[in-house]
Point group: C2
Chain length 667, copies 2
Amino acid sequence: MSTTAQWIWYPGDYEIYLGGKTAYRRYRRNVIFPPSWRVDRPYQCAHFFKDICLEKDADLLIKSTGEQQVMITGRVYPLQPCKENTYSLPAGTYTLFVSVYSPDRVPALFVDGAVKSGSDWNVSENMTLGYSKTAYMVSAGTAELTDPDVLPGDNLFAYKQLAPVYDEVIGNKHFYDFGQETFGYVQISGIEGDGTIRICYGESREEALDSDFCEVFDLVATDGRTDIRLEGSRAMRYLAVECDGCTYQDLSFLYEYLPIEPKSSFRCSDETVNRIYDVAMYTFHLTAREVFLDGIKRDRWAWCGDAYQSILMNFYSFYDKPLNQRTLTYLLGKEPFDHHINHIIDYTFYWYIALYEHYMHFGDLEYIRSLYPRAKKQMQYVLETRNEFGFVEHNDKTWIFMDWGDFSHEGALCVEQILFHKALTVLAFFGELLEDTSAAAQYKKEAASLKKKIFALFWDEERGLLLHHAVDGVVSDEATRYANIFALLYGYLKGDKKRRVIQALKGNGMPPIVTPYAKMYELAALGVASESEYIVDQIRDYWGDMLEQGATSFWELYDPASKDQFSMYGRKFGKSYCHAWGASPLYLFGRFLLGVSPVKAAYEEYEVRPHLGGLNTLQGTVPLIDGCIDINIEHGRLRIVANTDKKGVLFWKGKKIDIPCRKELVI
Amino acid sequence: MSTTAQWIWYPGDYEIYLGGKTAYRRYRRNVIFPPSWRVDRPYQCAHFFKDICLEKDADLLIKSTGEQQVMITGRVYPLQPCKENTYSLPAGTYTLFVSVYSPDRVPALFVDGAVKSGSDWNVSENMTLGYSKTAYMVSAGTAELTDPDVLPGDNLFAYKQLAPVYDEVIGNKHFYDFGQETFGYVQISGIEGDGTIRICYGESREEALDSDFCEVFDLVATDGRTDIRLEGSRAMRYLAVECDGCTYQDLSFLYEYLPIEPKSSFRCSDETVNRIYDVAMYTFHLTAREVFLDGIKRDRWAWCGDAYQSILMNFYSFYDKPLNQRTLTYLLGKEPFDHHINHIIDYTFYWYIALYEHYMHFGDLEYIRSLYPRAKKQMQYVLETRNEFGFVEHNDKTWIFMDWGDFSHEGALCVEQILFHKALTVLAFFGELLEDTSAAAQYKKEAASLKKKIFALFWDEERGLLLHHAVDGVVSDEATRYANIFALLYGYLKGDKKRRVIQALKGNGMPPIVTPYAKMYELAALGVASESEYIVDQIRDYWGDMLEQGATSFWELYDPASKDQFSMYGRKFGKSYCHAWGASPLYLFGRFLLGVSPVKAAYEEYEVRPHLGGLNTLQGTVPLIDGCIDINIEHGRLRIVANTDKKGVLFWKGKKIDIPCRKELVI
C-alpha cells in the first residue's frame, strides 16, 4: 500500500488534459488559433478500484475532481459522506470502488487515511458490470501530486512581479520595455474612466509599436474596474498601451514560470559561450511549461520535433522527469491512431527516439509500459502507410518538416527512412524489455530490412554521402545534410563511410543549415564524432551572432545572410524570438563538452567523455538520476567528482578510467 | 448551396454530445451513478470548410458554440468581426474556413447570408496544414437546427405546469400524488426560514414515503430563497417532502417532455386494449428524450436492446427520425472500438438490426453513409472475438443480457449467433448499398458460414426447436425461447421447422417470459407468423394486468407470479415503473394488427396485412414517410385510405390488392 496518498487517474489522462488545455491558448490578433491536428482529451469518467482489508472501521478522505460515487462490494447503495468528503468504511475485506465524473477536467481521485490512493490502485474507463471483472483495468496514473486541496493541473506555476526597465510616451501610446523576453500577465492599476485599453505585445520594439501587425494584442473594456489583471498569458519583451476613454496610473507584469530548479551548471573561459549558456537556460525555462512548447509567442504548441530537442536539453539542465512525461504522453494521444504526430512523419519517429532517450536517462519502465500499447498502435499506422518499396513518404494526410530549407519533399526522403529505422529499433527494444517478444522480433525484422534498403539505394559511393530522396524508387542527384546528419548521429556509419560523411558535413558541398533546430542535429552528429572544436566554433558564431543582434532569448530562425529578422509566413512579425530549439547549446555542452551520458538505462552505467572544444577552461555539472557529476578542466588537468552511486567510466586523453563514487578524481 | 442556414458539426458529434450529457444524469440516493461503459465525447475542436464564390462583398453572420477563427485562403490573419458575429467578406473565389473550439459543448457552426452553412460544407477534426488538403474532410452533420440564437442541444424540450391531484400530511411529511407517472422539476414557493427541504421521489406511494430506501431524493438548502426550482430532473408520481427549519406555501411540478406529436392512432372494440395503447404512448413519450432511455427513474441510460425496441415503436407512433439518429449515433460511439455496445453482445447486434429497420422506414442513405465506417470497425472487433468454432460467447470483457431469466449464459448461446448472423447480413446489405463490394462479400460469406453452423449444431429435430447453447462445441439439452423467437422473427425458419417452432413457442415446454422486453420479441415473432389472436390475448392479459395493478406507465418487469412489484438488485425500490420496453404494444399493434410495413427502403413500396386479432373492430393510423395510412375494420368490412404517393399492396382475406393513392378503398 502507498505510504503517501497521491492523486490518481487513468494513466495518461492528466498529461493529455494539461497538454490539451495548452493547445488552445494560442491567439493570433485576438482570435483563437487552434492547432491543425486532433488534440485528444481525457475520458470524462473513470472508475477506480482497490481491494482493501480494514481491521477496524475507518474514516477515509475520498475526494475527486468531479462528481463521485463511492461503493464497496456487498453494498447496493453508494456510501454517503459522513461529513464533507469523509466516508465511514466498515471493517472487513472488500473492494472499494469510486467512479469519478469530471467532464471539465481530468477525472482524478484522492483517498487518504487507512487506505491511500496511489499507483497500486486500478482504474478503468470501461468497466464491465459486476465490478469484480478486471478486463479493462490498468494501473492508475500518478505524478507525485500529494496535496488534496490542489486539484491536478492547478498550481503548476510560480509567479514573480516584474516592473518595466524603461518606458516612454510615443504619440498616443505608452511604450514599455521589460528588459528581456518574458511571459505572463499584464497588470494595470489606478484606472479611471470607463473605456477600453489596447495592449500590443512585442518580442521586438517594432512589433509592440505596430498595432496593425503585431501578432498578439488584447483589447480590454475597463467596465468600472480600477485594477485589472489580464486573463490571457502572453509572451513579450515590449508593450505598447493605448487608452480610449480612460487613464491608468501603473502597469506591471506578472511573470509566470514553472518552479523547477536548474540541476546543471556550465562555465568556460569564453564569456560569449557562457552568455550563450545563460540565455539558453532562460529560453528553455520560458518554453518548459505544462508541456514543452516550441515558442511562447508562436506557435505556443507542442511540436514533437521541438519536444525531442527539449527532452534532450532537459537531461542537461533541469532534469525534470514529469515535464518529459507530460510532453510525450500528450503528444502520442489516444485512439484512433490515424495520423502522424503533428501530421509530420519525422515528428512521429522523433517521438519514439525521445522516449528511448527518456528511458536511458530516467529509467522509468512503468512509464514505458503504460505508453507501450498506444506506441504500438501508432507504429501500426506508420507501417500501413508504407509505399511499394517499403518506404514512408508524405501524402495528402501528412507532411515532412525536417527543416526549413530549399530541398525536395517528394518521394521517399532518405532521412525519413533513417528515422523510421531508428524508431523501429526503439520499439523493438521496448518490446524486448516488456517481454512482448514476437512483436519485438517483427519490429527488428522490419528495421533490418529497411536499413539494408536505405544503404543500397541512397549511398553515393562517388561523393561519399547519402543522397536526398527517391521518387518512384529512383534516386536523384540531390544531396542534403539531413540524411547524413542522422546516419552519423545514430551511429549507422563506420570507417570510411563515416569519415567521408564527416568531411561532407564540415564542407560546403551541401546547402547550409539556417535554423537552430537542424543546427542542433548537425552539431550533435559531429559531437558523436568528437568534433568538439567545430561545435564550439559554430555555437560561438551562430548563437553568439544572435546575442549581438540583441537576443535575450534564442530565436526560432536565424539566417545571418538575411536582413529580415521579423517576418515569417507572410506576416510582418511572424518570427518567434523565444524558441526552445534555440536553447540546444544546453544539450550540446552537457553531452559533448562535459561529455556525460548514460550507457545503461537510468544511468546504471554511464560514461564521461569530456572535450575542451578549443576552450582553455571548462567546468560544469551534469545531473543524473541519483546525483550529479562535477567536472573541472583547467591547465590540462581534469578534476571530476561523481556525486552518485552509479558506475561511471571516464575517457580522457586516450585512457579509460573507472570513476570513483563520491570521491574526487584528478588527472 | 443550402437554402436555409443550419447548424453544422462533425458528423455524429451533436448526437454524441447530447447522449453523453444524458448518460451522467442518473443519481442513486443523491449520488451520481455513471454508466459502466465508456461514454464517448465530441471532438473539442472542428474545422469547417466551404469553397465559395462571392460576386460582390458580403456581410456574413458567422456564429459558433465556442471560440472561432474565421479565415479565407490568401489571408494570413483571421478575419475580425465588423460587428458581433458579422464578418465582411470580399468578393472573389476562395475557401472560407472556420475553426471552432468548444470543449464544453459540441463545436458547431452557423453561417448565414450570401453563404449558408449546411450539409454541403466539409468538416475535419484533423486538418492537415495548408488548409486546401482534403484528406480528413467529411460532409458536415446537421439536424435541421436553423435558429442561430439556439445553440445545438439547447431548447430541446417543452414544459407544462403540473399541480398535485392529491396531498396529505403524514407525520412530519407532506405527501403529494400527481395522478400519474411524470418527469421534470419540483418547484417550491413561499418559502420562509432558512433550512433544508428533503424531497423523496416515488414511482409508488410506498417509495416516496420511505426516505431511507427511495431510489432518488434531493436535499436542498433554502439559502434565503423564497422560491426554488430544483435543478435535477426526476421521475415520479408521488413526492414526500420534509422541511427542517423552514416552511413553504406551495409545491408544483414542471413537466419536461420532447415536443413531438403522435402521428399514429389506434382504437378497437376492447377498452382494455385501447387503454393499453394510450398508456404505452405515454410511457414511450416519457422515455423518448435526448436519446431513447430505458426508464426515466432507472437506469436513465440508453441501452441498445431497449433502444432497438423504442426505434421499432417510433415507426408506429411519433415517426421521429432525429430521435432514432441521436440514439443510434450515440450508442455506436467512437474509436477505439474495443468493447461491445453497453458491454452486451446481443446489444451490439441489435444496433445493426435497428439501423437496418431505420433505413427501411426512413431511407436516409446519407445517414447510413456517415455511420458506416465506424459500424465496420465495431464489427471488426466482434469478428476478432470469435471462439475457435466461429461463435461469439461472453468473456471477461462482455456479457449476455437477452433477458432476465433462469438460463445458462455459458458458452455459445444459439440466440447470440442468430443475432450475429442478422447483423452481418445487415452490414453486407449496407456495404452493397454504399458500393463497398469487397467488404460486403466478406460479411455475406461470414454470415452464410455462420448460419450453416447454427442449424447444424443447434437444431433439435426430435423436439422441433433450437437448443439453447454449446459449451466447448458441445450442445446441451437446455432449450429456451430466445433462439426460437429470433429464428422465427428474422424468417430463418421455413415449412415444418417453422410450424414446429411456433407450436413450441405457444406451448409450455420452455420457461415462460417474464419481462415485457422479451415478450415483445416473442409476440413479434408470432406476429410474423400471423398469430394475431395470440398476440392480442397475451397483450390483454399481461399489459392489462399491469393496468389493473394501477400502472399509469408500463413497467420494466412484471411477473404475475411474483408478489413483490418493488424490489430489484437487492434494493427495496429498485424496479422501474416507466420503462420504454413496456410500451411495445405500440409496435405490435401497428406492425401486426394494422399490419403496415415497408417492403423497400423509405416506404417506396409497402404492404398492409391487417389482422383483427380476435377483436370486433379495429381502426388506426400508421405514419409513413410522406403521409399515413388510415385503416378501419368494422363488421368484416375493411376501409383503407393511403395518404401517400408510395406504392402499397393490401393482403386481406387471401387476396392481394393494389392500394390506390389518396383514395378510399373499401372491401
